[in-house]
Symmetry: C2
Subunit: 457 residues, 2 copies
């Protein structure tokens, strides 16, 4: 048999021309969004001041396939198809009979898969005549991706960046500004929400919840402006399906199919995208891959959260979503994987997990994650993002199990991004100053007690 190459490259003409919408094959739909005031099911029109109309459509649709507009396909071609790597050197290092594949989404300047949803979000807004977008950013990957997409399509962008992040991460800020976006440190004096916070505490260093409130307020009060979000939403899981569609086609090129599919999971954009095409096989009975979503033990929404209606933000301005949540007031400790510090989980992934299609969630401690990241970098030559390294940790653990059992399983994991802007956390690992943290049961109960009381079934 011909040897599988180190990197399996999909020909450009084989790139997906449609997104796959897992809702089209789910036996039961995720619970709908609800109005936080009335508890009623939210109508599309209620979301129009916040999101452009076609994206609201993506939020609600159960169509199985959605055409990817040609302009979006063209922009995808700037950095896609993303390579699928066979991890020969990692397999050798682990002395495992397992075959390990990883889909690498870090080969673009935003450094992660976030661009896959940023491009269509900007495209549909532009098509509707929207001239400005707002968003918030903490770690900065979404902010960078959105700034790139806005620059490509020549549309304005204001990024509310958590003040402490804008101070601690001047390089991320500089990348975003290179792509022409305007950055406002949050809390700011440009919104009511920001001014109220500054009146209370002039030295406030901000939070993601605060930044969301400002970005949404800016969007709904400014002319021709809408808000965007890089995770959690159904539309994001839809757009990110290109990851899994490509990965499946690439594995087919070498006659492979995964026994296990592993992805890190914060709001669900990466895991939802990676598993898409394989989940379709599971939902339709064509195959039965085993899915593992990996989350930080410091922010364990799937493994220790409850499945309930909750706000999507800490500021409590968004509709309610039924999801696995730690409570919207949950403040994760300052673990370094900023992209995984979210109290909830995509409603789609939550439903799939609740119904047993997403087989397992596993929480891992960050020191174990960085141990895996360092091992991976040395073997494969790619310095992974802390978020992605959660998936690496579990892929390595599963490969070691195969060594012990002698099984030659095929493992696919998502390498969602590179760690070039995360060296501060590597330094803390190397210096031995990295602390593992898990919330206590009491802390979690406190969060659950704050959940909105309008959980209609």
């Amino acid at each position: 048999m011909k040897q599988v190459p180190n990197r399996i490259i999909l020909p450009e003409e084989m790139m997906p021309k449609q997104w796959y919408n897992v809702r089209g094959d789910m036996p039961e739909q995720p619970e709908p969004l609800r109005n936080p005031g009335t508890g009623e099911i939210a109508k599309k029109e209620e979301l129009y001041p916040v999101f452009c109309e076609e994206l609201v459509e993506h939020e609600f649709t159960t169509e199985r396939y959605i055409d990817i507009p040609e302009e979006v396909q063209e922009l995808y071609k700037m950095y896609r198809p993303a390579p699928l790597h066979r991890a020969y050197r990692l397999e050798k290092e682990l002395k495992t009979p397992a075959k390990i594949y990883y889909k690498y989404e870090g080969g673009n300047t935003s450094g992660s898969h976030k661009l896959n949803s940023a491009i269509p979000q900007v495209y549909y807004n532009k098509k509707q005549g929207i001239t400005n977008l707002t968003t918030e950013t903490g770690a900065g990957q979404w902010g960078t991706a959105l700034a790139m997409a806005c620059k490509f399509m020549n549309i304005g962008l204001t990024v509310y960046m958590v003040k402490i992040s804008s101070i601690q991460k001047p390089y991320r800020k500089a990348v975003i500004e290179t792509f022409g976006a305007k950055i406002i440190a949050s809390p700011s004096d440009t919104t009511n929400a920001g001014r109220a916070m500054l009146a209370k505490d002039p030295d406030c260093m901000g939070s993601l919840g605060m930044a969301i409130s400002e970005a949404v307020e800016d969007a709904v009060t400014s002319k021709n402006t809408r808000y965007t979000l890089g995770s959690v939403l159904n539309q994001v899981v839809l757009h990110q399906s290109v990851i899994g569609l490509e990965a499946k086609a690439q594995l087919e090129m070498v006659d492979e199919y995964p026994d296990i599919v592993i992805g890190c999971s914060g709001g669900g954009s990466n895991m939802g995208g990676l598993m898409s095409a394989f989940m379709q096989d599971k939902l339709t009975g064509k195959a039965n891959p085993y899915f593992i979503a990996v989350e930080p033990s410091a922010c364990p929404s799937l493994t220790r959260g409850v499945y309930a209606y909750d706000f999507c933000d800490t500021g409590k301005v968004t509709p309610l979503a039924k999801m696995y949540t730690l409570g919207c007031g949950f403040m994760p400790s300052s673990i370094h994987a900023g992209g995984l510090r979210y109290h909830g989980m995509s409603p789609i992934l939550s439903k799939l997990y609740h119904d047993g299609f997403l087989d397992e969630a596993r929480a891992v401690a960050q020191s174990k994650v960085f141990e895996a990241a360092t091992l991976f970098a040395g073997a494969e030559g790619i310095l992974p993002a802390p978020e992605s390294s959660h998936a690496i940790r579990v892929a390595i653990d599963e490969a070691i199990k195969c060594r012990e059992s002698g099984e030659a399983k095929t493992i696919l994991f998502g390498l969602s991004g590179h760690g070039h802007f995360d060296m501060g956390s590597y330094i803390s690992y190397q210096e031995g100053s990295m602390v593992d943290y898990e919330p206590t049961d009491e802390e979690l109960q406190e969060g659950f007690a704050q959940l909105p009381k309008i959980d209609v079934q």
Copy 2:
């Protein structure tokens, strides 16, 4: 005619299996290295304490092709072949009829083409039974690449990092340490050279010349240890030929051939590699592409230097090489493209330039370089390294000339690396605090006056 894809991907099986040695086709050879004490032509044996024997062979050989060892080919496959991009969006932005292609070497964690020579250098040392390597690093790209290669082949590495760089660039240091190399801030108390310097000035922040002296001393006085260098040397130009060999094969896949080939040029590793296969065509009369080497106006070795024998280092411990030089004592101003701050130029490139085969050298000011870098990032979605952006500047200038003349020339330039670790310089550009600098004629004359007086012809 079929549309050229955005990224032209060479199939893995078409990767070069031999390096191309331009010396095999040069009508006159570059001048030989000379012993700095006697002025005599250096013998291979004189270099054995510093470099392993096969690499000394690469330094001297005029064989046209050298087989790439299979193990090196396998390691290349971790990140090669590197994509060739068609810059459709940049062309559109510039409204130029020119067809612009760029060979992107930044798709690996070292962030540049440096890994192409790091891997064979480590391989041949390991093969000879060498157990430890030394090198110096300033900007950090070479140090990272070598640390990766040493990790892949399990051989020890000590990197002497200019002390001020190790303080200013903790992230680069952390990347190198992630790959298991030992970093010593230079000047250090581990070598005679370092101790002497510290005795004179305990607060000395170091220089590249100082770090070279320490790395070489460490190599020649330690057991089973050799020194390595990421540019200037003939062996480096040889190994980097994979860039041009791949680029030529990729252009052939879409029936193209460059009218103009543009690369940035510090010590010559990138430009030498990019032009390799095309230079062969020129030397053998098969084609006549126009070559432009781009250098910073702050360090203009080709455009304003003299062609003379000089030391390769500021510490004056190396053999003498005949090259375009500003004098080994020349201290370039602190322009941000650290990789281009070298007083001399590869003897091979110097000879080709002197004899008119390398058609043109062009010096550009850094503010113009960052203007081009920002334009390029916005159009193509890749944040370029400051070094590579020198080539971008000239590629854009040539494309604008085509717009004015109406000529649809085919332009190939080398995008040697990404700028993820160079955001400090982007910040200085965005803040408007970037200063352009050119040495005065008097400063240059001062450097030339210091050239060694043993310039035998």
